[in-house]
Symmetry: C2
Subunit: 313 residues, 2 copies
């Protein structure tokens, strides 16, 4: 990773016309409870409701004009499917989305609303990869991985870039760890922009593959992943793992009870709708108060796409 401040600013400048500069909020009461000063970077207010819009936007923008005409393809049943569809639409690029046929109708409808063309397939990873590969061959479309792609990573990092440019006083930046795109981008931005600021990840105990990967020095997977933080079940990849290994100080693991309590606290006290994955980072701070005591902490709220019919409270 050889990024410079100029490069990161150029990434931000490239996607700025197509994304929201999201607000940074704070809560006096939560600060009192946590014993530190937290700046919440609110990507729940981002377009399509999550930070993933940033990486999708930047990855598409870096394709040649010829490649853009042929379109982009990904396999995802979550936020990245919507993000890629909307980002592609903004640039008038076709988007082909491979989704498991078992995906909820509401998620398929959201992708269609944003202009994505869905190809359904059986829900195994192999089926999804084969289906995506076939679209790459048939259409000449470019495959864009949701998290294991350097341009996606650089795009996701712009949330931290915006935060750090406005808050150069921060001691620590913390964000959730799922497939590794957000934490890798955040680690790059933190490392490049602020010399004395560290980057910490937060992960559900029930899907602690990234924590185990840092322990073992190789990419680990989850045998099962029964967590409410459904955006964090995926494993790291060979592009983002070395960045995380070299530039993330620590990964803190939290229980499901801690995630739900932190989620409730954010909803009740900050009056914002955030997904469980976002609450994982606050749960980590509340669990490890000594570590964060009196620090100035930046926390990236990853998104706000929740199913109001399946709330944990």
């Amino acid at each position: 990773m050889n990024s410079s401040k100029e490069e990161l600013l150029k990434v931000l400048e490239t996607i700025a016309p197509f994304i929201h500069k999201t607000p940074v909020l704070s809560s006096r009461l939560i600060n009192e409870m946590a014993g530190c000063e937290i700046q919440f970077k609110c990507e729940n207010f981002q377009k399509m409701g999550a930070f993933k819009m940033r990486g999708a936007m930047y990855a598409i923008s870096q394709l040649s004009e010829e490649k853009k005409k042929k379109g982009v393809v990904t396999h995802s049943s979550g936020n990245f499917a919507q993000a890629l569809s909307l980002a592609a639409k903004s640039l008038d690029v076709p988007a082909y989305i491979v989704m498991p046929d078992s995906a909820p109708e509401v998620k398929k409808a959201a992708v269609r609303t944003y202009g994505g063309e869905i190809t359904e397939c059986p829900s195994t990873l192999q089926d999804r990869e084969t289906t995506a590969k076939k679209i790459v061959e048939d259409k000449g479309a470019s495959f864009i991985h949701p998290s294991n792609d350097l341009n996606v990573i650089l795009g996701q990092g712009t949330a931290a870039t915006e935060l750090l440019l406005d808050h150069p006083e921060l001691d620590i930046v913390i964000c959730p760890v799922g497939g590794g795109g957000l934490i890798a981008g955040t680690a790059i931005a933190t490392h490049v922009l602020l010399q004395n600021c560290s980057c910490i990840g937060a992960e559900p105990l029930a899907a602690d593959d990234a924590w185990r990967s840092l322990q073992s020095g190789k990419i680990e997977s989850n045998s099962s992943a029964l967590t409410i933080a459904d955006g964090l079940k995926t494993m790291l990849g060979d592009v983002n793992f070395p960045i995380i290994r070299d530039h993330v100080q620590e990964i803190i693991r939290v229980s499901e009870e801690e995630i739900i309590a932190a989620m409730r606290l954010i909803w009740e006290r900050m009056k914002i709708v955030v997904e469980a994955s976002s609450a994982v980072a606050l749960a980590a701070i509340l669990q490890q108060k000594n570590k964060f005591s009196n620090k100035k902490v930046g926390l990236i709220i990853s998104g706000g796409n929740v199913d109001l019919n399946s709330l944990p409270f």
Copy 2:
């Protein structure tokens, strides 16, 4: 009502150091659905989570120093109890809160957190009034009504003042109608600050006392009030009714289903936590699309204090 722009600005200036200037948000998708352009004034982000902080603050600020020392008293089981407690605390004034002994423990705890001293009594209106009166006599404290008090009304109107100063292009301002304090203050601000802007109220069909009051020309009450918008069950008073009668163009009534659908829309699309009472105003716009077609509309989100254990979805 003989307010001038100078007077309204002075009211705002008086309370500004003690309240938040709340943000104004908008949603492209909701605008598309509604067929008009809505600016949401987000009092859910106000201190203690509701606009009531404004009126409580202004009413206390207008007491003499001697009266401030003796304290303030109100009877309320809702947001105003918390608002008066917190406002009083900001000015180092004792706050005596009369609450029905049946009030939920969580609401009593919130009042105590803000420094209010609770006196419990049976839950009839007569018991509450008698208890409050006794405190006025014993302590020499000043009674402040949650909605039927001109200073409270002027204070509540500052949400609209802030909105209209930043958005002088508005054609209509809409807000929910409960005890009448917010709508009366909003009507004064709208009337004084913008010549061609009208003020509309929104009310649950199940508690349509204000709508009936405008029809009959006298204050009507609700025989029952089974609505999810629990902040809107109260009736108007002799101070706010004439203001509402003279300066509110219309009150629109909405069903419980319309309220819940609008509440869900705000949570899902704007990613903010708002109480059902706030959703009543958006429900009114969605019900009467012709009336708002292509208009620039200001909508006052009254608050965000909800019980996450009793959500309607």
